[in-house]
Symmetry: C2
Subunit: 313 residues, 2 copies
């Protein structure tokens, strides 16, 4: 029977899955809704995953020899999740539970941001590199760090939480995390809109953004590309703080490459160029040429990285 | 014959050495002057080290089974030093050269700041921990990072260069590295004196520092402890930026512990308490309780760490 590996990326609204060959080729990907239970005692997520994998396995008449999972929260090496607020998971051992449900012994579990970084290193923008820092600019700002091919978790599972570096000294609002001045407050999709609104409210500078009802981060980038002053100011501000933050990271672990992903990264080279302009200025000379590249796997990075957790070299 | 290991810490003015038992006990430590040659082609440092080790070996009538070296510059895994400006070393393989001089095959070479971090983890303030960040507050600000027991070097040998994190946004002077706003500019011994002088020049606030001709960083701490306003302002400023920088580091690698060493750390708990006050405020909640501790090995950290490079578990 043919051997398959499965990569699973557990998100708050959907669970993405990918079936991989033993040589690491993605054969098929699909997704199922995340059915979050109110009651922490009756999780439906893992049974749903097990059932969906079994269905695909039966279709292919194959053998599942490994399952990797990325989950939205901190997790220890033995597969114990340390509470996952947005999918209502208590503290429990995901690996053991999923083994009971599937009979597959080769199971590994990682934090979703770290797992996405691993995916980008394996098959995406970080291909060919060994030590990467992935920055995900989405609703929030997340990060994943892989050093010498190994995910860095941190003592409290907080390694790679670069969205919460306190880099914005003049921030007056409070971040979701309770602090003030987090990178996320200027560089996330929500942060970008908030910052643009602040600039708009500050004076009467004409701006095309004023004509876009409920504008988004994408609108800010689109208008900036066309030369709109307020939009450019907003993009420069996020570029500056991202440049500073990447410069800090370079002084700590000096990675091979930075990979920028998440919805905001769809702004493409315009975003990268803006970050780079500030990065070069704010960074220790030895690291000034470290490449800053776009992620290429989109929202499949998670299933690639999850599969990589269990697929041998 | 008894087996010994040697740890060597190569500095700009002296070379510290330690003879260790196979169980990792420091049996004897000594130092020799660093004879730096003008000519890069005729290094006397390694021959001096080899001769000094041979002398001690003969005294003990033992067998040297491993030599570890910490050197003041970036070095690759195979022992190639990538130019060491202050001891006039060109690019060459230290390990091979020292093997030729001593006949010892088990030689490993590391950067001095990283090696000191390893030493503090093994026998000093970081004992019992596995992932530590050591910050050395001396003439400059250096750093060493050990994750899961392994030194982090970085792609360009710049991992742990935390003295050059651009954290001081309002800095007007230029750092030795060519940038503006490096942590080193406020938190090194020289930086502390410079900052205090700035505060003194700004207005006529009475200060006991005004009576100390050519005051040092130690004077600033001593006067701050006695309540001198300008000195306190200076100490708070360095504490704030160190707190911010450690907070950034926590968001990147989330270590078990921070160890503060170097001459400035002689200020003791007063310094630690000041850093901690700001660290707690500026740091992601998951890492807020990460301990900040004083280094305990003083300037022997380097020989301990160097020896640890070659002493088996």
């Amino acid at each position: 029977m043919e051997k398959f590996y499965v990569g699973v990326d557990v998100g708050g609204t959907s669970i993405k899955m990918g079936m991989f060959s033993h040589t690491g080729e993605l054969l098929e990907k699909w997704e199922i809704p995340t059915r979050v239970d109110e009651d922490e005692q009756t999780d439906r997520i893992l049974p749903d995953i097990a059932a969906s994998i079994e269905e695909k396995r039966a279709e292919k008449n194959g053998n599942i020899v490994g399952i990797g999972l990325g989950i939205p929260g901190p997790v220890t090496d033995d597969g114990t999740v340390l509470k996952c607020a947005n999918i209502h998971w208590p503290v429990f051992n995901v690996k053991e539970k999923l083994f009971d449900l599937t009979g597959v012994a080769n199971i590994r579990v990682g934090n979703d941001a770290n797992v996405a970084a691993l995916g980008e290193m394996w098959k995406g923008g970080g291909r060919g590199f060994d030590s990467i820092v992935m920055v995900t600019l989405g609703t929030g700002v997340g990060g994943g760090i892989v050093l010498d091919g190994k995910i860095v978790k941190g003592t409290h599972g907080a390694a790679g939480e670069i969205g919460h570096m306190s880099v914005v000294y003049d921030e007056t609002e409070t971040c979701n995390c309770g602090k003030k001045g987090c990178l996320e407050q200027v560089a996330s999709a929500t942060g970008i809109v908030k910052e643009a609104k602040k600039f708009l409210a500050a004076d009467d500078t004409p701006s095309t953004l004023r004509n876009i009802d409920g504008f988004t981060a994408k609108d800010v980038f689109d208008e900036a590309k066309k030369g709109d002053e307020i939009s450019l100011k907003t993009v420069n501000r996020l570029g500056e703080y991202l440049g500073i933050a990447l410069g800090h990271i370079a002084c700590v672990i000096d990675p091979d490459v930075f990979i920028i992903g998440g919805g905001v990264s769809k702004a493409g080279d315009f975003l990268i160029d803006t970050i780079e302009k500030y990065y070069v200025e704010k960074t220790y000379h030895q690291c000034r040429k470290t490449p800053i590249k776009l992620a290429t796997l989109g929202n499949s990075a998670g299933i690639y990285g999850a599969a990589k957790l269990v697929i041998p070299e």
